[in-house]
């Protein structure tokens, strides 16, 4: 707190530092700080800050005077004219500066995001030596949900690697402990954590504020908390040595350390760490190669080529690891790529997508480009109006060089103002940005000199470029020419300007098309018949492993509620059945067929509650006592793949020693994301365990029914607190990424259209002003307002329409690629493109229309008076 008081403003101090003579010779910073402190006490902090900033800016002014002496007078003059010019054309100036500022702020925000994403895991000291181990499945056609890469490894892998290879400096195993209930003296919290070997803290840089790196995770039943978690549970008390209870486990965990909170740019997010070997104490087998539930991280010697090392691993595993593991090839992924290049099944990392990064970066640059181009376009168009001013200046003796300097200075200054405004916009928009992304991104100007430098260069370039037309072109005129009005129309720029309009609108139309397509694909997903009914289904996650008889009792009680239409339970949600096994059968031709079959464990009521349609055979039924042991129901695709003409009654084993008989075939339903084709799937009852309880309810009195469900749940002393959600919502959440994608596009297209409209507005006003005389004459000759509006609009509308021709093919190609990632998708229909074109045209017409009408309704007498 004290420090903050004493530092008025880092930005201001940085500026002061740049005034070298004042700073180094006269110690201006110290002087100002001293007065600032006194002012803080006498007049309060905000007044003091104000004063500080004012002094800083004034100092800049005086410094310029010092450095440039007599020349600074001219500078003052230029400043005055710049502001005078801006004041006189308030609307135009505002549009121009605002447009550039908006473009700049988008650019900065996106760049911040990209920088954040690229900075993941860069805080680990040994970062460039750490790799993640993953498996690649060699056998074709047997991928899991379309993906042949797996992060999961057996527990024995890590120590084996360490013992065998000298290149391996260290290894650690990891697994996730999500949504664990931590209890301490009545306080209950659900937190996400990890289980890690003691080497974890040595390999990774998660600094300990209490406890020691070497010991913290050595013993069984040790736990390390993050500072905030410790704060939440213990307040300011000392947590070391105290014990926490976790979920329903018998042994308590002793707190052996506190680490600083995990930074936002870490691919692993957790608030506590449990020692890995605690799991051993709970009878988990760490010596077999079959239980692949863990993640392995290795740290290699500095300078080791990890690809060469992979080959060594391959050789070793071939010889040493058991056959079933041999299906896989072991490979390493550098830590730096963990966040953005995750293409694995079962990745514990917080994942982003490198493709998104490319996309967003591209969009950032495009928006910046449009904004800059706009600015240059508008300034250039407008400046031909200042020909008279140039004439006057020349008459009173301004040299050509002075005029050039004036215009260049003016345009650079306004560009600079736009930069300031833009940065201010960024600061205000930052909280919105954070909530959209779901995370905070640090934004500190003084820490990113590179960014400031780039922005300044851009602004300088933009400013100079846009000032160059009036500077060079106008200053060349002889004063007499100008004053006589003989400067001639600015026909030169016309082609370029029209091209720019086209360019901007093309971009806008592409973005609009993308937005519409994403939206319609999402709608398609939402409305496509999934093959089952998920309306009004309350899902209650059951975290307790052994429900036993409790489940039946609960179901019976709930069924008695008149608002309950059905109760069921299963191991997996019907929207996401991920459990899978490979089975080998002999098809009707007697050939061996290997298929991957997904399966879920269900109860008698599952198919009914979700209204899944039977194609052949029958549902599970209580009338058949053997069903819970032997019955299995498969879907159409499974029946097809198995290659049996009549699957009913046939047997196969979905797991090692199980032997199931097919009693029914259901119509295919979407039990996975729409990205994937429907694969073979089976439902059976053997080995039933319930992760989810489903209650289908009536639409009436939903809160009441839910309250009842909660009451029943609580009455049965289930350890975990009651939680529920609707299946529809869960379904929508699966497509959250796509929804975000859609929203992003929506925002970008709005911005693009906005900026393009701004540009068009400026151009239209310029164009109509150029044509005042022509319009006046036409009106006198009898043209109606409509005629004139039409005439003026036609020019630009043509270019907007041409923009369509360019953008349609590009948009089509891009969206087609995106849609390909969905196995089930809408098609790109003509109406989408027409709508986008229509919107763009509408905006264009509205923008031009305003100008045209204004010009068309002007009194011809006024416009013709100038002759």
């Amino acid at each position: 707190m004290e420090n903050r008081e004493k530092i008025p403003s880092r930005a201001a101090l940085w500026i002061l530092g740049k005034l070298t003579v004042y700073s180094d010779r006269y110690f201006i910073k110290e002087d100002l700080e001293e007065e600032y402190i006194t002012l803080c006490q006498s007049e309060g902090r905000s007044k003091a800050r104000h004063w500080f900033w004012r002094q800083t800016l004034l100092a800049v002014g005086y410094y310029v005077n010092y450095r440039f002496g007599w020349r600074s007078f001219m500078l003052k003059n230029y400043l005055k004219t710049t502001f005078r010019h801006m004041k006189r054309n308030k609307v135009y100036s505002f549009i121009n500066i605002a447009g550039l500022a908006v473009g700049l702020s988008c650019f900065v925000l996106i760049l911040l995001f990209v920088r954040f994403e690229l900075s993941f895991d860069n805080f680990h000291e040994n970062g460039n030596q750490i790799y993640r181990f993953y498996k690649k499945r060699e056998v074709a056609g047997l991928s899991y949900m379309g993906n042949s890469y797996f992060m999961t490894t057996p527990a024995i892998l890590a120590p084996t690697l360490k013992e065998t290879f000298p290149e391996v400096v260290n290894t650690t195993r990891l697994n996730k402990a999500e949504n664990m209930l931590l209890t301490y003296k009545g306080k209950q919290l659900y937190e996400d954590g990890i289980c890690a070997d003691k080497e974890f803290l040595k390999m990774f840089t998660f600094p300990l504020v209490r406890g020691s790196k070497a010991d913290a995770l050595t013993e069984s039943y040790s736990i390390v908390l993050t500072e905030s978690l410790a704060q939440k549970i213990f307040g300011s008390g000392d947590p070391l040595g105290k014990s926490l209870r976790i979920s329903a486990q018998e042994n308590d965990y002793k707190i052996t350390g506190i680490i600083k909170d995990v930074p936002a740019n870490s691919h692993l997010r957790f608030s506590f760490m449990i020692s890995f070997i605690s799991q051993k104490a709970r009878n988990r087998n760490f010596d077999d190669w079959y239980k692949n539930s863990y993640f392995t991280y290795v740290q290699l010697q500095e300078g080791t080529d990890y690809r060469e090392f992979e080959k060594k691993i391959a050789v070793f595993l071939d010889r040493y690891a058991p056959k079933r593991f041999a299906h896989y090839t072991g490979q390493l992924q550098p830590l730096g790529r963990a966040h953005l290049y995750s293409f694995f099944n079962f990745d514990p990392a917080v994942t982003g997508d490198i493709k998104n990064i490319y996309l967003y970066s591209a969009i950032a640059f495009i928006i910046l480009l449009i904004a800059c181009v706009n600015y240059m376009n508008l300034s250039t168009a407008r400046s031909s109006q200042r020909a008279k001013e140039v004439g006057m200046r020349k008459v009173v003796g301004a040299s050509r060089r002075e005029i050039i300097r004036q215009f260049l200075g003016e345009s650079t200054l306004t560009a600079f103002l736009a930069l300031i405004l833009g940065l201010f916009l960024v600061k205000t928009a930052l909280p919105l940005f954070h909530s959209f992304l779901g995370q905070t991104i640090p934004f500190d100007l003084s820490e990113s000199p590179f960014l400031i430098f780039t922005l300044l260069i851009v602004i300088l370039f933009v400013g100079l470029f846009s000032g160059s037309y009036p500077a060079l072109f106008l200053s060349a005129f002889r004063p007499v020419q100008i004053l006589k009005g003989k400067t001639g129309r600015a026909k030169k720029g016309a082609g370029l300007r029209n091209g720019l309009v086209t360019f901007q609108f093309s971009i806008s139309i592409i973005l609009i098309v993308c937005t519409i397509v994403v939206y319609s694909q999402l709608q398609f997903i939402r409305h496509k018949d999934p093959g089952y009914n998920r309306e009004h289904v309350v899902v209650v996650p059951l975290r307790e492993v052994r429900m036993g008889k409790k489940l039946e009792v609960i179901k019976n009680i709930l069924n008695k509620n008149p608002n309950v239409l059905g109760v069921s339970a299963s191991s997996h949600l019907p929207i996401h059945i991920g459990n899978r096994n490979t089975i080998t059968v002999l098809n009707s031709e007697g050939e061996e067929v290997k298929i991957s079959m997904y399966y879920a464990l269900v109860d008698f009521d599952f198919i009914d509650i979700f209204d899944i349609k039977l194609k052949a055979g029958r549902n599970f039924s209580r009338d058949f006592g053997t069903d819970p042991e032997n019955a299995i129901i498969i879907n159409e695709t499974a029946a097809e793949r198995l290659g049996w003409d009549d699957p009913l009654g046939k047997s196969f084993s979905i797991r090692n020693d199980w032997d199931q008989k097919i009693i029914g075939v259901v119509k295919d339903f979407h039990f996975q994301s729409y990205h994937l084709d429907i694969e073979p799937m089976a439902l059976l009852m053997k080995g039933f365990w319930a992760s989810y309880l489903y209650v289908k309810i009536r639409a009436t009195d939903i809160p009441g029914t839910i309250a009842h469900i909660q009451k029943v749940y609580d009455e049965h002393k289930i350890h975990h607190a009651f939680d529920y959600y609707f299946l529809d919502d869960a379904f929508n959440r699966v497509y959250q990424a796509e929804q975000k994608f859609g929203t992003t596009f929506r925002i970008f297209s709005f911005l693009a259209v906005f900026i393009s409209a701004l540009g068009l507005f400026g151009l239209a006003s310029f164009s109509s002003e150029q044509k005042t005389k022509e319009i006046g004459i036409r009106k006198v000759l009898g043209a109606s307002v409509f005629n004139i509006t039409f005439l003026l609009s036609r020019q630009f509308t043509r270019w907007v329409l041409i923009a369509n021709l360019i953008s349609w093919p590009i948009a089509y190609y891009v969206m087609n690629r995106w849609l390909q990632s969905f196995a089930y998708r809408t098609s790109l229909q003509v109406w989408i493109f027409a709508l986008a074109a229509g919107l763009a045209l509408l905006v264009a017409l509205a923008t031009i229309g305003y100008q045209s009408i204004k010009a068309a309704t002007a009194n011809p007498v006024d416009s013709l008076r100038y002759e």
């Binding site: 003579v21 010779r25 110690f27 002087d31 004034l58």
Partner: protein, 108 residues
């Protein structure tokens, strides 16, 4: 000897008056008290620079104060030339205004 401008005169005088404590903040304060006008730091430093170049003023860095948060300062002192300039300014003034008392400021 070239004439001192008003600002230069006041600043030189402030430096003299402040004895061993003439640095940015104090000189500015003294100036503003005397003239009841605001003097911005930039202007002050520019003038000091000019005065130094003319040889009227010299400076030395202070020893950082022993208390916590001590800052470094540049302390300014008059040179003999500077003193001479001030003395001359005073005598010119005397000679110019000598015969007039402000009570005589009436329309003639």
């Amino acid at each position: 000897m070239a004439r001192l401008s008003r600002n230069e005169e006041i600043i030189l005088l402030s430096i003299w008056k402040l004895d061993d404590n003439a640095y940015g903040v104090t000189i500015r304060k003294s100036f503003m008290e005397m003239t009841r006008q605001i003097l911005h730091y930039g202007s002050l430093y520019n003038t000091l620079e000019l005065l130094t170049r003319k040889g009227f003023v010299t400076c030395r860095e202070s020893r950082p104060e022993s208390r916590k948060g001590g800052r470094r300062k540049k302390l300014y002192y008059l040179t003999p030339t500077g003193r001479k300039a001030l003395k001359e300014a005073q005598s010119v003034y005397r000679s110019v205004w000598g015969t007039v008392s402000d009570l005589e400021f009436k329309r003639k």
